[in-house]
Symmetry: C2
Subunit: 434 residues, 2 copies
């Protein structure tokens, strides 16, 4: 198993190496690009950041001669199928992005953190040798706490003030919050317009940008208002991870670990061996982790787009995790941090039920700890809070709380409401304040 | 043609007559109905209204022995297909409603006008001999001006506070505004729950409840935020029209006229002969008008659910009409009133283009005038307002305003952006203030 994973990793390395020797980012702007669509040097903040990042976030001024797409993962959903492109420097390839734009008007939805880093580059990629396309943008405040109706309305306001019509394309440029909000806005604006995901966090690249779940939070719970709505494509430029803070990177790792636990033991074993490389942002390790995560998610979503059952298994640790996030107030912990603690709780409960052996529980704990993720809820989140918040979880059906729990050998799980309530009580008591 | 229409009308009369002789509304409440789900006498306001209505709006206490469903129109949308039931007294048949409820929890969304008339009856129909179902309700303020995000949030608040889960059913009880808002709430709550339409206005019965268009208004335009989302069924109890004000009835007639103009000349000719009967609420005339309207709409929607082209023809007069509604501020004119004036304008423009002969223009004007509907925009709506508002119409694509215009013999129309702009200018000048 590990050998297979290593050879796949080697293959990923080859294409990344090829990318590294292709001509990159010449500084001269081609005369045909209108000056309003990009500037000749990167904005101040992006430039200041460049000193600490491996790859520059400055706009590329000419596309590379050879495509650097190292991987395409197809999400097979009939007439709603779409590709996920994964590779370093994909934002330097205008053609890749432009082939999925529908209409002449584009609205880029991003936030105050990502806009200074990549908005100019994305605008360039959308308009390079493409003078008929005009690009608007709306820059939202950054953070889960802004994933609400008021902020969503700013997207509608911008779209309507800009007189966008049905033949337009929304582009989500940012992490999971931006992707979810932009996707829901695209689903709802004029009852649905096209959209493209450009996820810039590991969390969004391995999970939230794939599969069409969009939505916003309600004060009483996460993602309670939304839509299933698929993008035209997902474009993952792995170089955007070079500007991602360590804590955000680790947050995404929580979802990578999840895929191994619920359905892909070889991937989990590969992670156990390569976690240090992932955290060190070793390009080939990151690319492989993203590719394998997207493949797992695409397989699940293709079988169960609207979460009739199988897809729910992607929420391992999320019911506990959502309770932590809601209990703390959105934005205190990152989503993946809450999921990590929730995953440890789910493993603990699975072990108490006798559904997994102790080694799986231990390996779950160890790999998340190695990723520097929380392995228990924070102080202040009580059993009572857990119970109240879990009662409004979307996976409650006819009053019964169904959970994703590990079962059998590594890589196996179940989505069920049939479990001994005592095990849940014991887990809550073991992990929470009274 | 007229003969065919008359025989259809005769057929509708037969089934209505059959209904009239079946046992109606015995007053004794069966012991098995929990008292919380209905009261033994109608609420004060409904009772006061009864004196002026033909059929009582009071809760029926026992279902009739024989089903009174006179017509079922099927909307054929593959796995999203659903029936439209049309007939007098359908709310007295709990089984009909209950067979389409999914889950044990129901949220009825209604408004302050309709709740006193029908909420109790609907609650009774949902819970009669069905003790496992619990019914919540949310009563919104009445009117197009409340078809906004703030009011929509009240539906989400109620659903979440009531801890409704994915296996629940939303019921829209009211006119088009309630149907559109409840439908969009159902589309968005937990990314989609089941819903049922119980339209109580002619407008909603012949148009807005059928076809899955849901949404809310934005200050800059109507229905700019929404979803295509199909109900489990539409239940049209024609007796609810007995409590409808004359002006609201006429508003619905504007859409009935539309079906004749765009695709059904025999239906238009039938209307010319039977308009007085419709306005006098003659049951068989109303039932036939609703049935034929639903059939027309169902045929169009089945061919073009997401409005790629054909479905847009249902918007005859609506682009002009929306401009009137938006220009006036929502709620000044009823939707059908604005559509009527818009239809006259569309016919005028079609005639100026030489696409229809004068008799069609005249018959359009005459039938709408006979229905006591406006045949021109009100004072104060200027050419400038028309232009600005039409520029953000959903039917604009890549900057080009497409219109539904009449063309050829009676019953023919086109949806096109290819027309002489001069004709539009002339129509605006002929109908509007400068």
């Amino acid at each position: 198993m590990a050998a297979t994973a290593s050879s796949l990793l080697a293959a990923a390395s080859v294409s990344t190496s090829r990318a590294a020797i292709s001509p990159r980012r010449p500084r001269a702007a081609p005369a045909s690009v209108p000056s309003s669509s990009r500037s000749s040097c990167p904005p101040l903040r992006a430039r200041a950041l460049r000193s600490r990042v491996v790859a520059s976030a400055a706009p590329a001024m000419q596309p590379p001669a050879v495509s650097r797409v190292s991987t395409v993962v197809d999400v097979d959903l009939g007439d709603r199928s779409y590709p996920i492109y994964i590779g370093p420097g994909l934002l330097d390839e205008p053609e890749l992005l432009q082939r999925h734009v529908i209409g002449k008007r584009v609205l880029v939805v991003t936030n105050t953190t990502v806009a200074p880093l990549y908005l100019e580059k994305v605008t360039w990629a959308l308009t390079y040798q493409n003078p008929n396309v005009s690009v608007e943008s709306v820059v939202l405040p950054d953070g889960e706490k802004y994933k609400d109706m008021d902020t969503l309305m700013k997207v509608f306001d911008k779209a309507i003030e800009s007189r966008l019509d049905r033949r337009c394309t929304f582009v989500a440029l940012g992490g999971g919050v931006i992707g979810d909000m932009c996707g829901y806005a695209a689903a709802s604006f004029l009852r649905g317009v096209n959209f493209i995901q450009i996820p810039t966090t590991l969390m969004a690249q391995v999970d939230s940008s794939v599969g069409g779940k969009t939505g916003i939070n309600h004060p009483l719970g996460k993602n309670l208002i939304g839509a299933f709505y698929q993008p035209q494509c997902v474009l993952i430029d792995t170089e955007t991870l070079n500007t991602l803070p360590d804590r955000e990177l680790a947050s995404g790792v929580a979802e990578v670990v999840k895929y191994g636990l619920i359905r892909d033991a070889p991937f989990f074993e590969w992670q156990e061996k390569n976690m240090a490389a992932i955290l060190a942002r070793e390009p080939s390790a990151l690319t492989y982790a993203i590719k394998r995560s997207c493949e797992n998610k695409a397989e699940v979503v293709a079988q169960d787009e609207r979460e009739g059952g199988l897809r729910a298994t992607l929420n391992l640790g999320h019911t506990f995790g959502h309770a932590i996030e809601t209990g703390l107030g959105y934005g205190e912990w990152l989503h993946g941090e809450a999921v990590a603690a929730g995953t440890v709780m789910a493993a603990d409960m699975s072990y108490r039920l006798g559904w997994i052996d102790e080694s799986i529980q231990k390996r779950t704990f160890d790999i998340l700890e190695q990723a520097k993720l929380p392995v228990a809820p924070p102080k202040g989140v009580t059993i009572e809070m857990f119970r109240n918040i879990m009662a409004v979880d979307k996976k409650v059906a006819d009053g019964l709380l169904r959970l994703i729990l590990l079962k059998g050998p590594l890589g196996g799980c179940v989505f069920t409401g049939e479990y001994d309530r005592k095990a849940l009580d014991e887990t809550l008591r073991a992990f929470c304040d009274n």
